[in-house]
Amino acid sequence: MLGALLQEAFRAMAANRLRTFLTMLGMVIGVGAVVLMLAVGEGAQFIVRQAIDSMGSNLIMVVSGSATTGGLRLGAGNVPSLTTGDAQAIGELPSVTGVAPVQPGSTQVMSGTNNWNTTVSGITPSFLEVRNWPVAQGSAFGDAEVRAVARVALVGRTVAQLLFGDDDPIGRTLRIRDSPYLILGVLSAKGQSLEGRDQDDTVLVPITTAQRKLFGVPFPGTVRYVLVQARSPALLLRAQNAVTQLLRERHRLPEASPSDFTVRNLTAIAEAQAEATRVMSIMLGAIACVSLLVGGIGIMNIMLVSVSERTREIGIRLAIGARERDILMQFLLEAVTMSVAGCLLGVALGVGSAAALAAGAKLTVIITGPAIGLAFGVALVVGIFFGYYPARKASRLRPIEALRQQ
């Protein structure tokens, strides 16, 4: 029975090919749009997730203060208000598991005839733990090197690639500001940060080396910023407040005066961005679903026309013994066949255009099974929903009245 009804549906669709195609086109475009938009949204979410994972978890960033000198207001980090001593004190807070003072700078690095301008950051070994950034080859430097103000370095993937190509950089010498640094290890790849910066374009040296030999600091022991890792996501806010209070006490700031440092909850910022991306992809999908709805209305429209054109046929079928549900099934199946066929073409269109977008615009797109399943499901529901009314109208026709129609 179902086979015969399907055959009948195909026959009816084939009888008016152009009309069938145009009707399906709404569905094709709708499903194509849904698949494409979900792929784009999924790609964007993937990038954000990757960036968050690479950042390290439960992170707070404390940046040293801004300054106002003679009406000129300098940005955060320009006044050396944070010290390694502050970092140590923060590390003793109960809500904090890790703390990493950082003194970054930008400079030219050289090896042999190659050179490159990159970020050189002075760090302590805890930085690698806080950032969840293991060394891929070789080994990291320890507290001994920090105490010894050693000229050793860890290089990021990008720097290693640019300066040494395929050669093994470990044990080689890196020249930074005319001083030789022994390369101990190569960092594992991190990829892009949330702002789109290449995190692997970096060199890490002991913080003492950066402070005393490489960049020099205005006062001994000052750092640009401190990364603080809270014990758990639930303790992030408490850690943030504890850090603020501790530093104000250590810096002996009176009640009324503003803080000479800034505390930023990096994890909260990242999660807000992830949430924004998620909302964006849901919105893209929802907008695409509107076009599915429009496609469905197109199917309903044509099915209504088809029912009134085929009133006599319905009358004949009723006269020779078709029941209401036979007629209902026939027209419903025709609508569903049309929307499923449109859906198949739409998936092909969506996948094709997503691939074209990935290749052409270098956009990360991810097509997932559930996304295609969703598009299919929605198309099926739309077909049944918009096919039901015309099919019901057909099945409710009275045989003599239907037969009388010419």
């Binding site: 046929e313 013994g321 078709a322």
Partner: protein, 231 residues
């Protein structure tokens, strides 16, 4: 005497129109037995088409009873009536009423589809029926590719699909020339004689009515008193 197939008792039908109630059938009493071959004749507006629709379970009575093979049709819902049409009735229309997009074979097989017969059995029986009406070579043709007389034969084959007890033909020769009309009537006579199917033909063609053993003359929605036997 054969078995009773149709019994109409005090059958009346009126249509509700804007101008008030319009009566079309008045207290019609009619009994048809298996093997009957009946012509229903009468002028336009005499109610013969309505009578045909009532007999075919396409229309319901306003009052009175219609028993088909002893079953009161007044108590049945739409699906039950559809089942009766499917199993016990066969229709032949003036305008043939074949489905134009389907092959002759599929047209003939269609009632069996609604009866739930398997595809294989449907097609085999449809081939037999096309052979029975003398069109066995044309199974895959479309209705538009054959003549009117041939189309009406296909319609007869379709009406026979589920071995009906009652064949209802509404002006079956109305669109055919006299030669083809004779062939169709010969087919009805043959089915009636060979298989004992009750055949009812609505016509105003005297020659067609002349083939039938019994005649029911309709006048103003009533059955006129029967003239004396077959001519």
């Amino acid at each position: 005497m054969g078995e009773e197939v149709v019994r109409l008792e005090q059958a009346s039908k009126h249509y509700d129109t804007e101008a008030g109630s319009l009566p079309v059938l008045h207290d019609v009493d009619l009994v048809l037995e298996s093997g009957d071959l009946v012509a229903i004749t009468g002028p336009s507006g005499s109610g013969k088409s309505t009578l045909m629709n009532v007999l075919g379970c396409l229309d319901t009575l306003s009052s009175g009873r219609y028993l088909l093979r002893g079953e009161d049709t007044g108590a049945l819902d739409g699906d039950a009536l559809a089942r009766l049409r499917n199993r016990y009735l066969g229709f032949v229309f003036q305008g043939f009423n074949l489905l134009p997009r389907q092959s002759l074979l599929d047209n003939v097989a269609l009632p069996m589809l609604y009866a739930g017969v398997t595809r294989h059995a449907r097609e085999r029986r449809a081939e037999e029926l096309l052979l029975r009406v003398g069109l066995s070579g044309l199974a895959q043709r479309r209705p538009t590719q054959i003549s009117g007389g041939q189309q009406q034969r296909v319609a007869v084959a379709r009406a026979l699909a589920n071995q009906p007890r009652l064949l209802l033909a509404d002006e079956p020769t109305g669109n055919l020339d006299s030669h083809t009309s004779e062939q169709i009537m010969a087919l009805f006579l043959d089915l009636n004689a060979a298989e004992g199917i009750t055949v009812v033909v609505v016509t105003h063609d005297e020659r067609v009515a002349g083939y039938c053993r019994r005649r029911v003359q309709m006048v103003d929605g009533r059955v006129a008193p029967a003239p004396t036997g077959p001519a």
